[in-house]
Symmetry: C3
Subunit: 369 residues, 3 copies
Amino acid sequence: MTEITRILRKQTGNFLEDFRPGQVFRHKGGKTVTEGLFSTFTEFAMTANPLAKNARYARAYGFEGLLVPPGLAMLIAFSQTVEDVSENARTNREYVDMRFGAPVYVGDTIEVETKVLNITPHRKVPNLGIVHVQSTARKNIGARDEAVVMTWQRKVDVFKRDPDADLHSGEAAPDEVDCELWLPRYDPSADYKGMAHLSSPDSYFEDFEPGTRIEHSRGRTMTSEHIHLTAVLDNTSQVHCNQFMIDQDPKRYVGGQLIIFGGIPFTLCLGLSSPDVGDNALGDICYPTGRHTAPLFAGDTVFAATEIRAVRDYPGRPDLGVLEAVLYGHKFTRAEGEPAAGDAPAGWKKVQIFELERHLAMKRRSHYA
Amino acid sequence: MTEITRILRKQTGNFLEDFRPGQVFRHKGGKTVTEGLFSTFTEFAMTANPLAKNARYARAYGFEGLLVPPGLAMLIAFSQTVEDVSENARTNREYVDMRFGAPVYVGDTIEVETKVLNITPHRKVPNLGIVHVQSTARKNIGARDEAVVMTWQRKVDVFKRDPDADLHSGEAAPDEVDCELWLPRYDPSADYKGMAHLSSPDSYFEDFEPGTRIEHSRGRTMTSEHIHLTAVLDNTSQVHCNQFMIDQDPKRYVGGQLIIFGGIPFTLCLGLSSPDVGDNALGDICYPTGRHTAPLFAGDTVFAATEIRAVRDYPGRPDLGVLEAVLYGHKFTRAEGEPAAGDAPAGWKKVQIFELERHLAMKRRSHYA
Amino acid sequence: MTEITRILRKQTGNFLEDFRPGQVFRHKGGKTVTEGLFSTFTEFAMTANPLAKNARYARAYGFEGLLVPPGLAMLIAFSQTVEDVSENARTNREYVDMRFGAPVYVGDTIEVETKVLNITPHRKVPNLGIVHVQSTARKNIGARDEAVVMTWQRKVDVFKRDPDADLHSGEAAPDEVDCELWLPRYDPSADYKGMAHLSSPDSYFEDFEPGTRIEHSRGRTMTSEHIHLTAVLDNTSQVHCNQFMIDQDPKRYVGGQLIIFGGIPFTLCLGLSSPDVGDNALGDICYPTGRHTAPLFAGDTVFAATEIRAVRDYPGRPDLGVLEAVLYGHKFTRAEGEPAAGDAPAGWKKVQIFELERHLAMKRRSHYA
């Protein structure tokens, strides 16, 4: 037997001092959307939009087939960036200017690039700093062509490997990325009305009024399924799946237990809001900002609410309107002995876990129902 | 920021007083069968019939590809009706006259309609009543055509919203639905015998004798996976997935915990019986009646048994016979200190959870092996 | 109602005295690889090789599409043999001479045959003995043709039904099975370098040095998901999914709880090693030997390591080299009060669970990057 003379343990991911402004990561792997992945996530999140449920409907609307909903497109694209950008992160701080472009279908292969914009030290925690990056996901079209599927910036709290290391200074400008939501054209001869019973009757553009807060009716309890869901996305961060690592030093980790990958509540909140808000959207245009405000753990039940901020015409598309809203996620934690607060039942505290500014391209009832 | 001036919480589903005899629901969504959904459920249930396992075999028998087994067809079709019919139900009382028609394949899109037949108040519980409905599931064929996949009636215990509300009286007759099991023709030139090793050697029509009870050998423990399985089916009922709701008022809910969606044991019992009863069926013809007799929870282990009631010729098909049977599901619960009863081991009580009358189209050994 | 006059409980699987040298099982079922199954297992195991992730990459390399990784091919093929060979086994002893042939793609149907080589009584346990078998998996190609996908031998500890039964003696020789790893040809005009960023930069043939032990960085905690995963593979062994059976007589079963099917850590260890060892493999050639050395249970976290034993040229393929390695799996168990040992942290004991000799066909950096 060969004698072992060398032990190797490769570093995975980058630490704070490794990032340089202007640096570009062409991420490994890439990911082809299979019907397995599509089913696992689209349906997990209770997405109600028939574009992602009913291929007959999606094709009649001018899509090539079942449409990958924005939450799943985001999960796939985001996860490709984890190893290079956030495998050694404490937490994801903020999503900025997330925009959607070409539609994603089963069979498409997504590949992602990330550009580092800047690195800033944390003001209070010496071994931590903020990395600001811009990522862009493309899908291949045929053998040679490609299209931008989505682009976004994010800010993430990354650990230093060496607390005394210097950080790379400077600032790179984000690239101008041509990424505008692709929409099927309105076809006056199509029988949209004959399919109108397949989506909610009361979630057309005309139904939304700024100043309304919609408390979505349904909740969903998360289980240890999150470990499998996260692995299936190629998200390699150990804080989601390595219980032994947590057990070594629980105090170092948020909540002292496996934390659920933020992409899961991101997608789940979109899904929970779907019957009331997303059912008659042709697509999500952009998410100007978003952030996780509290961690989520197995056993928690997730709820969502949407606040309507503004409604406006969709330029060049009289059949559509733009809905500007904010999506919130929350859960309840036990608060024995504390006085009831807000709309939480006695003995419970309502904890916001997520918020996301969201612009949607909404169908007008006048044209579709 | 826009000031919030209105809080909206939409009602989901109908309450007892909302139903009117003759009322027709064209259910939302529809559902395209992906390979993900197919794999999750066909294989979850341990279905042994090679028609649902082996595409080479299915095609050689005259099907277009892997055949969606009846349990999965039922899960998909039934779940489409939950929001309108049973989101506010306490329990599903009875399945009646469930019949199968066109075969379902991966890629097919299922859409469902339900007609309300009558509403009767509960004799003992004032805020509860029985809604009797007839549902029919169709799949699209090409852009314009469609075929009936299955039709069934069910009776369901639905809550009143207002205990003092009057119920709509009257009675609508069920529609005559043309729904007869599609079967591939018998091809004397096909090499059925060359594939006979792929199914059980002892489950042909000739092997069944009325008066036999087959205790199926295998059991399957359910886990919290049921939450994911139910969501994946678009079943929106909160009693299966909202632990926070249960925690508010455990006494209101059966067992004080999340209850497993009845479609899960329905499908699982079919699967557990599959090696002994379903392996050489070309299809399930109908389920004249069926009911859940006890709830199922995560942690329970499900077993199944089949009683053979009658065997008869299949009109016009000398290669087939009709098997009439009853499928039973059961579990064991702890019964410390009670005397042993029936075939339960000491300290346990056998609890029947499900029963289903079942007619199958069985291959004859004389023609296929 | 028909009176029940006969109770039937069919035997599933064979017992030790049922096996005869030279006996051939053509296993039931067969299994078509769906995108659902592909997604569940390829991604579950964190397989990093882009051949199994990125269809664009796989096609550019000369494969027909996403390649089923060896761990999943093994899981599917192996599971087909469980009912006949090991449903009544206590444990799987050893894998021998496992070799891979034709590539497996989504849509392929796998069917498996097993030949019994010999049966030997257990030296110490009277109701147990070792069955030595050879299994071969084939996939159909078009309507008539087929190709060998993999072949392997295994030794398994099987229970006797009757402790006094005689065993069949004698010895059958293994069949000569033509099973050599299919590899796409090297195409000097292909733009391999343009795709090199999609796999690890430091796992080419040139990077491996005999005498190195690579401790793979990531761990993965297993949950009760294993019950679902095992069912989805058609593995019918009750020790993985029947908690009630365990509860009747916990002492009879390893660890007194549901044990995770060995194919799961087999595949998971391959996946955990993938970023460091498998990312630039064109395929796994063979696994000369392998064995499970300790059981795995829900809640355990799995880690993996690889020892590099030898490197050599790949005959006739200057673009490739052969890497000979041993893959190890381990977990940590609580060991309160015991002195720290090896590289386990205080309070924990490192337990090896799996080992597998492994020969891989590795790309040379000189030709591909």
